[in-house]
């Protein structure tokens, strides 16, 4: 049982009329694939009057734990932040460490990082789009999306042995070079993916019922997106063309040619579609990176076993599948971070749930939550 009625009470709404308000708790444990999110919804009949997400069910104190580990030992902790996107979570942290400790990453490592991050982006978006499918009842779309994700996860398994938490991107480079034949395998996946992504687009977003369920639901205006700090597909679905890969470029992205898909209406439909088209663009990026990559070292040379950055603090961010993911590190000269703060895009985007759900029904609430695509490892840390 996921919905429990907490109370039924009479309140007066803004117009001064008495309404019978039902307070309903959509519990932290969900059959739908969004993780531990609790929403307390105040309903007037079937319409949501107020929705308040309650978070913290997956809070593990990662930031506190990081204070007691060396810079290298923190990397597996970052895996478990956005566990659907370990590669880019590792990368955001490593960039902050490299900025703090003045570590120059070799070019081949940068290319590998871009390739795995883009692959991870596709995998993460497939999770997001698949979840939207499962929410609306299109289970086949969910399975198709996961089939595409499975190809990518297989590639990651070939690369570093893990399917979910990779611990691959390390400060100074990556943990190991690409195995023999990996580039060809990756190329095969990335050549086949766009056709399958377009098929998924047709199957799910081209469907009259899915459009009915997602169009006009949870509309986010562009001004609200900027004011509320929304980033990633949530902001781009509303027409805000903010993408760190273009607006604050990093790594080898300036050498790669790609477009940033931007939606128009800011509803759940556009957010989902932005994710899908971003995945197609990621395939383009990966192909170019695979063409451009050259032989070389994959770890910075002369890196000490214990990284001791000079005292100070630095912040660095990347464009993850959910938005701008950043890590702020404070160093006191010791081998352990003095403070680590993770700016997680899902945390910032989730604030919007209360605003977006007002005026919709409970079924729409779940669709909106899915379109915001939160991963609670990142939200709660």
């Amino acid at each position: 049982m996921t919905i429990e009625i907490e109370s039924r009470r009479s309140v007066t709404d803004e117009a001064g009329r008495g309404v019978d308000e039902l307070v309903v708790n959509i519990g932290p444990s969900h059959p739908s694939t969004h993780g531990v999110c609790r929403v307390i919804a105040h309903l007037d009949g079937e319409v949501v009057v107020k929705a308040e997400p309650v978070i913290g069910y997956l809070h593990r104190g990662i930031e506190k734990m990081a204070e007691n580990r060396t810079y290298l030992q923190v990397v597996p902790l970052t895996d478990r932040l956005d566990y659907v996107g370990s590669m880019y979570a590792n990368w955001a942290y490593c960039r902050a460490v490299e900025r703090l400790a003045d570590i120059r990453v070799p070019e081949r490592a940068e290319y590998i990082r871009v390739i795995v991050c883009e692959l991870q982006r596709i995998a993460s978006h497939m999770m997001g789009v698949g979840a939207s499918g499962a929410d609306t009842g299109a289970f086949t779309a969910f399975v198709y999306a996961f089939d595409i994700r499975e190809r990518i996860v297989e590639l990651f398994e070939l690369l570093c042995g893990a399917r979910l938490t990779y611990n691959y991107v390390r400060p100074g480079g990556v943990s190991a070079d690409l195995p023999d034949g990996w580039i060809e395998a990756c190329r095969a996946v990335v050549r086949a993916a766009p056709a399958r992504l377009r098929e998924l687009d047709d199957l799910f977003f081209g469907n009259y019922i899915a459009a009915g369920r997602m169009r006009g639901i949870g509309v986010l205006s562009a001004e609200d997106a900027v004011a509320w700090g929304a980033t990633g597909p949530v902001a781009r679905g509303s027409g805000v063309p903010f993408d760190l890969r273009k607006d604050d470029p990093y790594s080898v992205y300036p050498r790669l040619d790609f477009d940033v898909p931007v939606g128009e209406s800011g509803d759940a439909f556009d957010r989902g579609r932005v994710k899908l088209f971003e995945s197609i663009e990621s395939c383009r990026i990966i192909e170019q990176a695979l063409d451009q990559i050259e032989a070389g070292p994959v770890k910075a040379s002369g890196l000490p076993r214990l990284i001791r950055p000079r005292p100070g603090d630095a912040y660095d961010h990347i464009e993850s599948a959910r938005g701008s993911l950043g890590v702020y590190l404070v160093s006191d000269g010791s081998p352990r971070p003095y403070r680590m703060k993770v700016r997680s895009p899902a945390f910032c985007n989730l604030q919007l749930l209360g605003r977006l759900a007002v005026g919709h029904t409970v079924s729409d609430l779940v669709v909106i939550l899915g379109s915001l695509d939160p991963v609670f490892g990142e939200v709660d840390r």
Binding site: I55, G56, H59, G61, E63, K64, N68, R69, T70, R99, L100, R104, E107, E110, V226, A227, W228, G229, A230, F242, D247, D248, P249, Y250, S251, V252, P254, R255, D291, Q292, L306, G312, D313, A314, Y315, H317, S324, G326, Y328, V330, P335, Y338, R339, K341, R343, F347, C348, L350, Q351, D380, R381
Partner: protein, 169 residues
């Protein structure tokens, strides 16, 4: 294959140019903030006093820092250092706006009126560090249960259930 070495990879050295543009703009519009501005680790930092923070944030927002990143606190023993991260599309850079708050009086004015995005971030700082944000619409714990005692991210936080990790490297 084209000559890739000709295309610059923006390592921190390249960021210097847009940071200099920012410094010039800041100094021309708000000369009082100029001495408080510094470039550290190839990033812009502005250190102001607690009383000045809200006004400075408003000025920065006007200057072009329309996007709010996060707010966090660092426990330095005698005081807490609050770090506000802002992002500007106009300059293409971010800025760390810092201030200090004394430990025995950890309170500061809220900036949720400038950026509603700060709502949950300020709640998190209150929850984990115990800093009160005056004027916040809904200041209560966010990550920890409502009946939790203490603020875990503080350096002097003690919990009987914590198992200290052996200090080996």
């Amino acid at each position: 294959m084209s000559d890739l070495s000709a295309i610059p990879v923006p390592v921190p050295a390249d960021a210097g140019s847009s940071l200099e543009v920012l410094r010039e703009a800041l100094c021309s519009v708000h000369p009082d903030l100029c001495p408080l501005f510094s470039i550290e680790f190839a990033d812009s930092v502005l250190m102001v006093s607690r009383a000045q923070l809200h006004a400075t944030a408003a000025k920065l927002k006007e200057l072009g820092f329309e996007r709010f990143g996060f707010v966090t606190a660092v426990d330095f023993g005698d005081d807490f250092e609050l770090v506000y991260r802002l992002q500007s599309t106009r300059f293409g850079v971010g800025m760390s706006l810092k201030t200090e708050v004394p430990r025995d009086e950890p309170a500061i004015e809220t900036i949720t009126d400038l950026w509603p995005a700060a709502t949950w971030h300020e709640r998190e700082v209150y929850d984990l560090m115990g800093i009160e944000f005056i004027g916040h619409p809904d200041l209560r714990r966010i990550l920890l249960p409502d009946d939790w005692v203490g603020h875990p991210l503080r350096k002097d936080y003690h919990d009987d259930d914590v198992i200290p990790r052996p200090d080996y490297i």
